[in-house]
């Protein structure tokens, strides 16, 4: 059931063009490399399985981002795609020592990683992908109100955690009061 000629080439072309961006987004959504690789593999599998239909989608990048976000939030979906960490273990995600050190220095990122998956997704989509509230809601399949409240909750948690952390930067030592309730709307 392989795709034929043009369709297969289109698939490979898209993946080649977008793979790096998807990998970065997956890394942020999942919070670690192993799960991120898992997600990207599941995304490619799901895209390939539905490619004849999916390739006609007008906003394919937004569509893929939505899929990736859902995959990152739900482990069951990844299992449905037949992709597991065990299967990926053999491939081995390269972790470069200096990169790990850089990651560890990013204190706020460490706090983001500790957020629940949906809240982390909201933060990543809003602040990394720079999506509006409505676009984020569409990507997550929830209401705009939920996005706003999740953003506010996440910012409150991050602000509190950073303020409590000794040695946190001066910019985070103060309360983010006033930063959590404003509308991040489009």
């Amino acid at each position: 059931m392989d795709l034929r000629g043009d369709a297969d080439e289109d698939f490979e072309e898209l993946v080649t063009a977008r793979w790096e961006a998807w990998s970065k987004l997956a890394m942020l959504l999942c919070g670690n490399r192993a799960d991120a690789e898992d997600c990207v593999q599941s995304l490619l599998t799901a895209l390939y399985a539905r490619w004849p239909r999916v390739r006609k989608v007008e906003h394919l990048d937004a569509y893929a981002r939505k899929m990736l976000t859902n995959l990152a939030i739900s482990g069951r979906r990844r299992r449905a795609m037949g992709v597991t960490k065990t299967a990926l273990a053999a491939r081995g995600a390269p972790v470069i020592g200096s990169e790990r050190e850089i990651e560890e220095r990013l204190e706020l990122w460490q706090r983001v990683r500790a957020l629940p998956p949906r809240q982390r997704a909201v933060i990543v989509l809003r602040y990394y992908e720079d999506l509006s509230v409505d676009q984020t809601a569409a990507a997550l399949g929830c209401s705009s109100g939920t996005v706003k409240s999740q953003t506010a909750d996440a910012l409150r948690k991050l602000g509190k955690a950073m303020a409590a952390e000794p040695g946190a930067g001066p910019q985070t030592a103060r309360s983010p009061k006033g930063t959590v309730n404003h509308d991040h709307g489009a």
């Binding site: 059931m1 392989d2 993946v15 793979w19 790096e20 990998s23 970065k24 987004l25 890394m27 942020l28 991120a36 690789e37 593999q41 599941s42 995304l43 490619l44 599998t45 799901a46 390939y48 399985a49 490619w51 239909r53 999916v54 989608v57 007008e58 569509y63 939505k66 859902n70 069951r76 979906r77 449905a80 037949g82 491939r91 081995g92 995600a93 390269p94 972790v95 470069i96 990169e99 850089i102 990651e103 990013l106 204190e107 706020l108 990122w109 983001v112 949906r118 602040y127 990394y128 569409a138 399949g141 929830c142 939920t146 910012l155 910019q171 985070t172 983010p176 006033g178 930063t179 404003h182």
Partner: protein, 252 residues
């Protein structure tokens, strides 16, 4: 206004993303081809099985229609595809059919088995005093929150529901007092634009058992109708009642 914390977030997320060192792309694509092809083949198999089932049903209707005409009776009215009938319209074997008055239905979980498909899992419990029998699946009609009917298309296949469950067939289930069965409604996500948020569903029970009403949301999982009727996201599948909550095909 962007705050300092938010600016710091933007900066650190970008730097964290930059630490990603993707491996080789080729094996990922090969793996996607291998697994994706397997899923496509399985889906095609389900469609063929379903097609055969539909063909057999059509042939059966034709035979029944010819027979009814020969004895000068009016034939059955063709089913309105937008208002599917419950399966198993025959008397329930093994006891009285369950009626809506004795049943309660509760959404117990979002089942997100597939990126493009979301589903709600229901528990149906018998709070009556007698054992009753449920057989087949109910007919679902969807509504928005103003009570207006939302038209979706019933599909008798779902890649992530067993063929038997998705076709609405199944063994009769004797439902003792206080016991439960499960039901799954799965809907494709809209490929293009979502239109109306679906608020609730009415489920017409087989064997004239009456109607149950249930929400179509669970936590943040929601169904939407699509802006275009030709959108594959207009399709939904509803399982037969099942004693097990695991509707995935064997081996998934």
């Amino acid at each position: 206004m962007t705050t300092e914390l938010e600016q710091q977030l933007v900066d650190q997320l970008r730097r964290a993303a930059e630490t990603t060192a993707p491996g080789s792309l080729k094996p990922l694509i090969e793996e996607a081809r291998r697994r994706g092809s397997r899923i496509r083949a399985r889906r095609l198999g389900l469609q063929i099985i379903s097609g055969c089932g539909v063909a057999a049903a059509v042939a059966g209707l034709v035979v029944v229609g010819l027979h009814m005409n020969s004895v000068e009776h009016h034939g059955p009215t063709p089913a309105d595809p937008a208002s599917p009938l419950p399966t198993s319209a025959h008397p329930a074997p093994g006891g009285p059919a369950c009626s809506a008055g004795n049943l309660t239905i509760t959404a117990i979980g979002p089942e997100s088995m597939m990126t493009e498909e979301s589903a709600v899992l229901y528990r149906v419990s018998n709070h009556g005093k007698r054992t009753c029998v449920l057989h087949g699946r109910p007919a679902a009609t969807f509504f928005d929150r103003t009570g207006r009917q939302v038209q979706l298309r019933l599909a008798n296949t779902s890649p992530f529901m067993s063929a038997e469950a998705a076709s609405g067939l199944g063994e009769p289930i004797r439902l003792g007092q206080g016991t439960s069965v499960f039901l799954l409604i799965a809907k494709n996500s809209c490929v293009l634009k979502e239109a109306t948020r679906i608020d609730h569903v009415t489920l017409e029970l087989p064997n004239h058992g009456g109607i149950l009403t249930a929400p179509t949301t669970f936590q943040q999982r929601r169904f939407f109708s699509c802006a275009s009727n030709s959108d594959p996201g207009q399709q939904y599948a509803i399982s037969a009642f099942s004693p097990s909550r695991d509707f995935l095909p064997t081996g998934r």
